[in-house]
Symmetry: C2
Subunit: 323 residues, 2 copies
């Protein structure tokens, strides 16, 4: 079984439920792994015009479409599978679900998808991805989304949705806009919990408060969530790493209360021996998003005056262990 | 080749050179690995009455004695090899060179070696070993020594001395005494650089300033000394870990200047791709002295009010990785 599990379970706040969903126009999904296939596939299933850029799974999806196992059902989605973004052509929205470590590939992939008002929504982890898009194709195009979902890619073109699935969508350095609300409505109509966020970067720091310790210790200590929580010293360090992240966020003007970290530790207990995506990637020899999850938060926090000593050590270890 | 390399290269300060060496009486070496065989063997070579407690190498040493390759020479030492400390009987000095992780074995090994004035000298790493001996057999018996030496155990009963060799000897919580100076004289006469130290525990903290980062990162980052020094982030963390150690030492009343840490980083450059003993032990599946080198310094420093955040994270990782 080829598995890619995506980090799950952060709190759902201010759930936004749309009522009707207008057309989003033409949507491209770039990076159709488990995350891209699931979110894009669910939109296609409710009638949206979604085009998938595929490589390894191209022939399989062309022949059989996408298969999504979710909530006890199996959904077959006849999907538009494409070998290049030139073949897809200009779109209204581009959902980017590549690994952050593959961002350089976007330089060639994105231009054929653009018309004057194309919106670019990155569904990637960590910090720096919105900036990457904004620097190249203009900040006004850029949106970001965070997903909290457990998915397994169980075969070519086949995704098993295990748990959760909330997607939080926001504009890059702006409050939520009508296009964000339109995307939220479309996901809600597709059966996915979705919300619009007014401050995307603060949401990213909140998610980092979980990913930094648990994804990081999964590699540096070779520890599942249960392993971390079951070891007094590691649990204290997970909490300490969260404090470092919140210190960085605070230095940058995001006041996330320390009770949030305590809450994150507490709610992680129900996850059991969950293996964060970074652990699975690392053990499989795949790239780990070290810069997006640990390097960029450290650099941004330090530039703003936060010390973050635990994060600095963890980052140095991960950079070396994943090289 | 069975190799055990012992950490080397800390500065030689105030070298004490004796002129004549009186008899030390009867000496037992408990834990005759590379370190015990080398230091005990060199004393035996100059005529001291040294008894070696041996297990795996017993028959080999009984038949052939010890062989020490050092400084271009090969020294054969007809050694007294014993299977038990009861067979050795009461001694004037006991040199303890077991791994700190095996200290529980001392509870049975030491009593047969004691007469009223037997001195116990631990040659072990880290903190807590003098205390272990003092609690059981009285503080007045206890001395400690630090050795800075590169040794390989190349065959049963055979040690190859690669580089360095300084031994620093002190009393437990007292200034150096006549018996310490007698031991120093005996080692100097045997061709080994030796010095008496007035403040043993401060020497231990100085050695920890090197062992904590370089032995620790050798496991946590799987990095040789050259790997650490050649990676900007890891080098900065090695220096940060040294700062944590010096903060702990300072909280306990030992004022080791921060220039000492800079100096240690600088002088480590000449060590090249040196693999600290902990890395070799870990890779071979042998016990690593996690509590003596990381756990006990952390507990003592924290109890005195030092924060030591990097050391705390490193300790938590090492405890897990070596479990």
């Amino acid at each position: 079984m080829r598995g890619r599990i995506v980090d799950c379970r952060l709190p759902i706040v201010d759930l936004y439920r749309g009522v009707t969903s207008p057309s989003l126009g033409k949507i491209a999904v770039v990076g159709a792994g488990a995350v891209g296939s699931y979110y894009g596939g669910m939109l296609a299933h409710t009638g949206h015009d979604v085009r998938f850029l595929l490589r390894a799974d191209l022939e399989s999806v062309r022949a059989n479409g996408l298969t999504i196992h979710t909530g006890g059902q199996t959904i077959h989605v006849p999907a538009h599978a494409h070998a290049s973004t030139a073949e897809i052509g200009p779109c209204d929205f581009v959902i980017i679900a590549l690994k952050a470590t593959a961002n350089a590939a976007l330089d060639e992939l994105i231009p054929p998808l653009l018309h004057e008002h194309t919106g670019l929504m990155t569904l990637q982890n960590g910090l720096g991805n919105e900036e990457y898009l904004a620097q190249r194709w203009g900040a006004e195009r850029v949106m970001g989304a965070l997903c909290f979902v457990c998915l397994n890619r169980t075969a070519p073109g086949e995704v098993t949705h295990i748990d959760h699935g909330t997607i939080s969508i926001g504009e890059f350095r702006r409050p939520a806009s009508p296009r964000v609300r339109a995307l939220v409505d479309a996901f809600v109509e597709a059966g996915i919990e979705a919300k619009a966020v007014e401050n995307l970067v603060e949401e990213r720091w909140r998610k980092l408060a979980w990913n930094v310790p648990f994804n990081g210790l999964s590699i540096a200590a070779r520890a599942t969530v249960a392993d971390v929580l079951g070891d007094d010293a590691l649990r204290a360090e997970a909490r300490g790493l969260m404090s470092d992240v919140l210190d960085g966020a605070r230095a940058l003007g995001h006041h996330i209360p320390h009770e949030f970290a305590d809450f994150q530790i507490q709610r992680s207990a129900s996850m059991g021996a969950y293996r964060p995506s970074s652990m699975i990637d690392w053990e499989a020899g795949r790239a780990v998003e070290v810069e997006a999850i640990w390097g960029e938060p450290l650099r941004q926090g330090r530039a703003a005056g936060a010390a973050m000593p635990r994060l600095a050590l963890l980052y140095a270890l991960l950079r070396r262990l994943t090289r």
